[in-house]
Amino acid sequence: MDKNMLAGLEGMPEEDKMRMASMIDQLQIRDSLKMYNSLVERCFTDCVDDFTRKSLKKQEETCVTRCAEKFLKHSMRVGMRFAELNQGAATPDN
C-alpha cells in the first residue's frame, strides 16, 4: 500500500531495506486475503437467502458474480481517490 515509506529509510543498510520490503509484502498479502474474505461474506449475505438446498441457484450465482465485480471496481476507485488524498491532490469542491 505504501511502498514509498521506504523512501524514509534511505540511510538504512541494504539488509534492513529488504526486511522492510518483505514486511510490506506480507502485509499486502494478508490484506488481500482479508479483503477477499470480506468480499465473500458481503456478497453471500446480500445474495443468498434460500436454504432449501445445498447448491447455488443460477440467480444467486449471477448476483454473487455481479456483487464481486462491483466490489472490485469499487475498491479500485476508492484506492485511486484515497491515493490522491494521501498526496494532497485536492480538487475543487463539487
Partner: protein, 87 residues
C-alpha cells in the same frame, strides 16, 4: 544463500516460509469464523427458546455452509481469472 537441500522453493528464506504458513492459516481461520457467524445469523432463531438446534436449523446450517463454500470458490475463480470478466 546456502547449499540448498531444503524442501523450500528457491529464493524463499525459512522466515518467509513461516510467515506464509502463518498468513495462510490466519486466512483459513478468518474464513471459518466469517462463515460460522454468517450462517448463525441466517439460520438460528434469535429468540433462543431452547438450547438445542432444531431440525430446521440443522439442515439450514448444512446448506448454508455448503453455499458459503461454493460462493467462496466462485469468487476465487473470478479473482484468479483477473477479476475483470466482462459481463
Amino acid at each position: 544463500m546456502a547449499a540448498n537441500n531444503s524442501p523450500l522453493p528457491a529464493g524463499v528464506t525459512k522466515e518467509q516460509a513461516f510467515g506464509m504458513a502463518e498468513t495462510e492459516m490466519e486466512y483459513r481461520v478468518e474464513l471459518f469464523n466469517r462463515l460460522s457467524q454468517t450462517c448463525f445469523s441466517k439460520c438460528v432463531d434469535k429468540r433462543y427458546k431452547e438450547s438445542e438446534l432444531n431440525m430446521g436449523e440443522n439442515s439450514c446450517i448444512d446448506r448454508c455452509v455448503s453455499k458459503y463454500w461454493l460462493v467462496n470458490g466462485l469468487v476465487g475463480q473470478m479473482l484468479s481469472a483477473g477479476g475483470q470478466r466482462p459481463m
